[in-house]
Amino acid sequence: MDLDLILNSFPKLLSASIITLKLLSVSLMIGMFIGLFFAILRIKNNIIFGKIAYVYSYIFRGTPLLVQIFIIYYGFGQVEFIRESFLWIILKEPYWCAVIAFALNTGAYTSEILRSAFQTIKPGYIEAGKSLGVANKIIFYKIQIPIAIRQSLPAYGNEIILMLKGTSLASTVTLMDLTGVAKYIISTTFKPIEVFVIAGSIYLFMTFIIHNLIKFLEKKYSF
């Protein structure tokens, strides 16, 4: 164990973890909207839209996240009309490419989580709303969505932790997140164990916080 290396690299890794957290929170927020949108498409009884949503989630859950990042970062840059359109302002930045890939990926998983949550809502709740004369729209926004979100909290907590680990792939498109900096330090000092211990502990600490936050929310919104 090289104690000097640990003390020296700890602040570097800690400041790199800010990028990791930024990537995580931005892509989770966008992914939540994408997931909600596709989950609603799935539960509405429209065959075409339902199929589209199913294919979307199948593709993004069936391929590795690394392929998705590479298609967006390396692949889209090759297409002429993307490079000439306004999209290029976003797609030339590795940061936004990573965020788009993460958001689409977590959106696919979130849509599955929310879909199953919507489908397990007891029909009694909706019937009660209808018999009380509540409008369909209000039943959806005030009854179905809150219950679905509560139901999906445990599964969504797992998804957040999977996504936290997924953000490490941002290092493959030149972003210096926690894993990127860790790899840089490992390849310059050739001391993988020390760096792994620190970077790993930072990741574990974040996992621990997320896990407890979700537990707290579950307790707060239990019914």
């Binding site: 199948y58 593709i59 069936g62 391929t63 590795p64 996240l65 690394l66 392929v67 998705q68 590479f70 298609i71 390396y74 692949g75 889209f76 840059g77 090759q78 297409v79 932790i161 936290l164 680990k165 997924g166 953000t167 490490s168 792939l169 290092s171 493959t172 894993t179 860790a182 790899k183 490992i186 390849s187 050739f190 993988p192 164990i193 792994f196 970077a199 790993g200 990741y203 574990l204 996992t207 621990f208």
Partner: protein, 230 residues
């Protein structure tokens, strides 16, 4: 499109071999994972607090740390660890370990952590009467495990193991950073030399989709086969 043809000018045959390589790494990693799971599941279920702690440490750390970081640990740390051991025995030359083994081993450790949790859940959901009956009939612990618990455990864990398989299959794309030529690495090479990354990464995505689709079909068949008595 002619870029995907077989033969000298196309990348079709290279991609096919790379797909087989991905499949080989995934299966090896899964098997290594089973070995880890068979070691750690008993520790997890044991009544000894210290053994519990070891098993929990393994599953928590591996499942809480990004796969890429674990791969870097073994990729950069593996050869130096082996060279250190070799230097004790008086061998001081540089040793490079096989990219396939490093990759399969690091993914195997990860999939082992997931398999451990699956096996633990499966054993805990086996009816208590089965354990009691085998005690009453006088089986010793080893026969009880292999003849009574293991077959039931495997059947109960097939659905969750299929998730672990999917995770393992997709994780193998990360070993491309170590230089092993599997689907991802081959697409990277092809994209670099033809300057057509969109095509090759899309093909990679399709190949992975095919693998996950076919393996799901296979696992569903297996599930039906092993559930036929129930």
């Amino acid at each position: 499109m002619e870029l995907l043809l077989f033969g000298e000018t196309g990348w079709g045959d290279e991609l096919l071999i790379a797909t087989l390589m991905t499949l080989a790494v995934s299966i090896t990693a899964m098997l290594i994972g089973f070995v880890f799971a068979l070691i750690f599941t008993p520790l997890k279920l044991s009544k000894n607090k210290f053994l519990n702690l070891i098993a929990n440490f393994y599953t928590t750390v591996i499942r809480g740390v990004p796969e890429l970081l674990v791969i870097y640990l073994f990729f950069f740390g593996g050869s130096s660890a082996i060279m250190f051991v070799a230097s004790i025995f008086g061998y001081n030359d540089y040793i490079e370990i096989n990219a396939f083994l490093t990759g399969a081993f690091s993914i195997g450790i990860i999939s082992g952590a997931y398999s451990t949790e699956v096996f633990r859940g499966a054993i805990q959901s086996i009816d208590k009467g089965q354990f009691e009956a085998s005690n009453v009939l006088g089986f010793n612990k080893v026969t009880r495990f292999f003849k009574i618990i293991l077959p039931q455990m495997l059947r109960l864990s097939i659905p969750n193991l299929s998730n672990v398989w999917q995770i393992t299959l997709k994780d193998t794309s990360l070993i491309s950073v170590t230089g092993l030529v599997e689907i991802m690495r081959q697409s990277y090479i092809a994209a670099g030399s033809t300057r057509d990354p969109l095509l090759f990464y899309t093909v990679a995505a399709v190949l992975y989709l095919m693998l996950t689709f076919l393996s799901m079909k296979f696992i569903n068949k297996m599930e039906i086969k092993y559930n036929r008595g129930y």
